[in-house]
């Protein structure tokens, strides 16, 4: 059986372990986040949603996924 390497990343302030070499798009899909209603930041840089499939997540990456909520 092939061993799956795991890496540690931080999403929205929380550390999680995910499969190595996963793309940002696949991670968003796994988290079941509605892509059209969010914006994504990787290590403090805003990521164009069209390029999510080209970006592979690395160890210690910091990801922020934000959306609109009620506010004044």
């Amino acid at each position: 059986m092939k061993k799956v390497n795991k890496i540690k990343i931080k999403i929205n302030g929380k550390y999680i372990k995910i499969q190595d070499k996963i793309t940002l798009l696949n991670l968003i899909k796994k988290l079941k986040v509605p892509l059209k209603k969010v914006a994504i930041e990787l290590n403090q840089s805003i990521i164009n949603k069209n390029s999510l499939s080209k970006i592979k997540i690395k160890q210690n990456d910091k990801i922020e996924i934000v959306h609109f909520i009620g506010g004044g």
Binding site: I11, N12, G13, K14, L31, K32, V33, P34, K36, K37, V38, A39, I40, E41, Q44, I46, N48, K49, E64, I65, V66, H67, F68, I69, G70, G71, G72
Partner: protein
């Protein structure tokens, strides 16, 4: 009433001059119904982290359709220019929002805006193509500087955010009105419908209300009251009020008295 009296912000036309904040409501349903009753066509929204653990949490967009109501992303809670810029750039990425509300706070107790950071941010955002509606102090000099930095609307506070005190410095609001052709919108500090009417009678182009509606015992009634208060104030302003006099002036003619 004329039907061409639109509120125009960054070349976009709105029939309603009431902007409503979507925070502090008991739930999304109450928020959405209040917005509907208020007749508002613009709502302010905050940018926050998605809850990646509890995905069943209701989403604002499921209750207020951004295709029908203009979302105005706001930087509420930001205390530096960097935070505010980051927030609005993210907001733009969510779905192309360019019309935004900038709010950079300077003091946790009063929630007064930090005008130095606000000016810096307005300049940067305007250069990046944002249409920036700017929350500011009621200082006419600062309002002028914001205009020179490329602001799309000037939004002075009536009083501290959520205070419900009503307009504390009517004179300054009048001075700001007289010096600018930009949309002038009173933002923050209104407590009841008559406060909104006063703002409109001073010549403001609109008002932004959140807490006064959301925290009223009956938000639905206050939403309706605010809608009519803004309409009443606007018509009153446009009508050209009578001069004040310390003497009386009889309403009935003298001629024909018995």
């Amino acid at each position: 009433m004329t039907n061409i009296d639109n509120l125009i912000i960054a070349k976009k036309k709105f029939k309603s001059r009431l902007i409503v904040g979507t925070g502090k409501y008991k739930n999304m349903r109450e928020c959405a119904k209040s917005v509907k009753l208020s007749g508002a066509e613009i709502v302010t929204v905050a940018v926050r982290r998605v809850n990646i653990i509890d995905k069943k949490k209701p989403l604002l967009m499921d209750y207020i359709d951004p295709k029908k109501i203009t979302y105005l992303p706001n930087t509420a809670g930001c205390f530096t220019s960097e935070e505010a810029l980051r927030t609005l750039r993210l907001a733009r990425e969510i779905g192309g929002w360019k019309l935004v509300k900038l709010e950079v706070l300077g003091d946790k107790k009063t929630l007064f805006p930090d005008m130095i950071e606000t000016l810096k941010s307005t300049e940067v955002l305007s250069k990046e193509g944002f249409k920036v509606m700017v929350y500011c102090t009621d200082d006419p000099l600062m309002a002028k500087r914001l205009e020179n930095c490329g602001a799309s609307a000037i939004m002075p506070l009536a009083a501290p955010i959520g205070s419900g005190l009503g307009i504390q410095n009517q004179t300054n609001i009048k001075i700001i009105r007289s010096q600018t052709n930009l949309p002038l919108i009173i933002d923050a500090g209104l407590g009841q419908a008559s406060d909104a009417t006063v703002a409109m009678e001073l010549g403001c182009d609109g008002v932004l209300v959140n807490t006064a509606i959301a925290k009223a015992k009956d938000p639905f009634k206050m939403a309706v009251a605010m809608k009519f208060a803004v309409l009443a104030g606007r018509q009153s302003y446009l009508s050209g009020r009578i001069n004040k006099s310390i003497y009386g002036s009889a309403s009935s003619p003298e001629k024909g008295r018995i």
